[in-house]
Amino acid sequence: MWQYVFKRLLLMIPTVLGAAFVIFFMLRAMPGDVCELKLGGEGAYVDEAQIELCREQQGLNDPLVVQFTNFVGGLAVLDFGTSMWTGRKVAYEMGLRFELSLQVAIMATIVSIVIAIPLGTLSAVYQNSWIDYFVRSIAVAGIAVPSFWLGILILLALLSVSDALTGTRWTPPIDYVPLWKDPAYNLSMLIWPALATGYRYSAVATRMMRSALLEVLREDYVRTARAKGLTETLIVNRHALKNALLPVVTVIGIEFAFLMGGLVVTEQVFNLNGLGRLLVDSVTQVDYTMTQGIVMLIVLIFVFTNFLVDILYAWLDPRIRYS
């Protein structure tokens, strides 16, 4: 087992290095220059010497090899450098957003579990009935609606409903306050994006839950239980559900990793100051260091989640370790 864990850990290194390589050169292949944008972005007259000075200060005139070595060398000690746009530490800037992104990701995951497990179970138990079709339609609709569209509709609904009920128009807060400081305020802001993304991501989990449960329900021990005359409810609750959950947990785990970096559009609609927004901002500002930092953070989260999932599987199913 430990050997497998070690081997799996070693395999993470080329992935992380590869991602570092790709993002570094991808950014430099993109046209644009942080100094041009910072100094001339509003159309004012800019002195070429000022731009040159800025490029020098940002280390943009160093040879690419030097820049790349600095970047990877920093990564090795988890130092992401300084943002070219704000001049603050990339780690500090990311830390500010990480809290919010993490909370939304957790809440969305909870929403998606709360939706997926009962619906998926219903769908499997009543396979090919109208209940099944209905549940599957709801799930598929979740991935069919463009997420920003759903977000805009939720916000509009809140405005109209609050106006109709209380006479004043209510919108969610637009400034983030940590959960422990003001739970009500915090939740009244984050519950909406969590619902929108949670519903969306529940579609895959519902489908997974359904097929995993269907598979388990055909296993021999379930047949035995049926033969013994146990009620279907008892079989599902006692035996099948537990065994069907593993693949669902896997799917949810991987989705969680995606949620940490993939909320770009939702963050825009709900005005959340999260990692996704920071990422888009930093790319559109040609802020190399910041973009590299966020991408590497997202890659690390993804790679590490996958690692955990693999280890979990290997622990449960020894055959994997030797294949």
Partner: protein, 530 residues
């Protein structure tokens, strides 16, 4: 104090009658103002930044030497901020500012003329390795000094109508000499120590900036607010909703007309609207190095095809542009009147005749049915809207145009660095109205003219204009310059001037719309009537 500046009406329209009632009211103290900002803060240093994303949240922390009067921002009505008076010598070469002795920085240090001197030295004569974005505005400045703690003197090379407006730039925050000496010239990029109406509390990058009332503020009785919070909201729909749900009271840049109508329809008299012409304009810049745009006939056809008077009507329903104008900010005394404008190619009220002429010119130049690419910037308001309009206008004279909407970095790269474009959108957006300086944009030698050409005639004419002594002389030369640029040589094609619309919560009082979103942002004049 001598007030030698022009007074002129800018046609600032208060759409709602309620604003006029505000004159008689006495300001109330207290309350926190929440406002939304659609852009981000690159750094806190006004001397190097150029964006309203920095001006809106940071200006309340600082004072200026002179400023545009926030109670009357629609005119070039300059007033002292940390000075008590200023005087110009008869030859217009020496300006003497008397500095107040009761101004204190937030850290307790008293402000003297030495601080003003250190600040303006950083702006006008930055040492090697220190950036200063508006250095070029002060070309006429020869030297400066602070003979004593309450006197600051500037000597000019030549008298210039562009000098005083440049001094009122909202970016020229007065820094403490002590900070500059102790911490260096870059300290203010990440730290705040000003003498403005509000003290810095905190900044959460990407989220908000918070300020609290400074009790030692030098303008008696101000500020009225206890504090403010500038909340970042890059998406326009989020900003509109924030005002509708009363999460924020105001947005200081502008909303398009539909958003104004939304808010008024939803909230009635809880919303007040102020509107004004805006000192920004978009233009279509052809690349003179690329045939057939080296041919003035083709360039003239481009501007002839544009229906400016019609666009002023229907485009103003969907974009933040409205007013037809030449190269000078509309309604300014130096700007062309309507009679003068219609003489310029593309400004005639007879659209069909203009377009017929455009087709004829294209045919003559052998550029009938020309296909080209239009480089646009990926910002909805008003770039993308105006771009889509231009493409349609050119289609009317048989031109086939592809619009390429690029993210800002790509757009700038093409416009400024590679110059690989046929025709590009370009813009001229300034703060204090300063036509003689502002129209330098059209000089072939200007750093921000991207049309890629050289022209000694234009240069010579502008040089005469910049040194013109009397207003009449300035105005005559300005007409000549405008006709040369827009009509005879058709170097660039002006579209419509921007139009600033600010709908906000009616309980916000004391705020007057300015012709620029950079002006009047210290917030000392604002109070809440709750």
């Amino acid at each position: 104090m001598r007030t030698k500046m022009w007074k002129f009406a800018l046609g600032a329209v208060a759409a709602a009658a309620m604003t006029t009632g505000a004159v008689a009211e006495t300001p109330k103290s207290g309350g926190t103002l929440n406002f939304v900002v659609g852009s981000k803060i690159p750094s806190y240093d006004g001397h190097i930044e150029t964006t309203f994303g920095m001006i809106h949240p940071i200006s309340p922390f600082y004072s200026l030497l002179i400023r545009v009067n926030p109670d009357n921002p629609s005119e070039n009505d300059f007033q002292c901020d940390v000075c008590s008076s200023w005087d110009a010598s008869a030859d217009g070469l020496t300006y003497t500012y008397k500095i107040r002795d009761d101004v204190k920085f937030h850290d307790g240090t008293p402000m003297t003329a030495q601080d003003v001197l250190a600040t303006y030295n950083k702006i006008v004569f930055p040492p090697e390795g220190v950036a200063s974005s508006r250095k070029a505005f002060y070309k006429m400045v020869k030297s400066m000094s602070a003979p004593d703690d309450t006197t600051f003197v500037m000597n000019l090379e030549y008298p210039s109508g562009a000098y005083l407006p440049a001094m009122a730039s909202p970016f020229n925050y007065i820094y403490s000499k002590k900070d500059l000496d102790e911490h260096g010239m870059n300290w203010h990029q990440k730290n705040v120590n000003g003498s403005g109406p509000f003290k810095f509390v905190q900044h959460q990058p990407g989220a908000f900036v918070e300020g609290v009332k400074y009790d030692g503020y030098h303008h008696e009785g101000r500020p009225y607010l206890d504090g403010f919070k500038a909340i970042s909201a890059p998406k326009m729909s989020a900003r509109v909703q924030a005002i509708e749900g009363d999460r924020a009271s105001i947005e200081f840049r502008a909303f398009p007309p539909k958003q104004r109508d939304d808010l008024v329809a939803a909230l009635g008299d809880k919303i007040t609207v102020q509107e004004s012409d805006w000192n920004c304009v978009l233009m279509a810049t052809p690349n003179h190095e690329r045939p057939p745009f080296d041919d003035p006939r083709v360039r003239k056809a481009l501007t002839l095809a544009i229906d400016r008077w019609g666009g002023s009507e229907y485009l103003s329903k969907i974009a933040i542009v409205k007013t037809v104008g030449g190269i000078v900010f509309p309604n300014h005394p130096l700007a062309a009147t309507e009679e003068e404008l219609v003489q310029i190619a593309g400004y005639s009220k007879d659209l069909e005749a203009s377009r017929e002429e455009a087709r004829r010119l294209l045919k003559e130049a052998g550029a009938e049915g020309l296909k080209f690419t239009f480089n646009n910037r990926g910002v909805d308001q008003p770039y993308r809207v105006v771009g889509t309009w231009l493409v349609d206008q050119w289609k009317q004279v048989g031109l086939e145009v592809d619009q390429q909407v690029n993210p800002s970095p790509v757009f700038y790269d093409i416009l400024r660095k590679t110059g690989e474009f046929d025709v590009s959108i370009d813009f001229n957006c300034q703060s204090v109205i300063n036509p003689i300086a502002d129209v330098s944009k059209f000089l072939p030698s200007a750093g921000n003219n991207y049309a890629n050409f050289e022209d000694a005639e234009i240069e010579a004419l502008y040089d005469k204009l910049a040194r013109a002594g009397t207003f009449e002389e300035q105005r005559a030369l300005m007409r000549e310059y405008e006709t040369m640029v827009l009509n005879d040589k058709a170097t660039q094609a002006i579209t419509l001037w921007w139009y600033k619309i600010n709908p906000y919560r009616s309980y916000v009082k004391g705020w007057k719309i300015a012709p620029s979103h950079y002006l009047g942002q210290q917030l000392d004049q604002i109070w809440l009537d709750k």
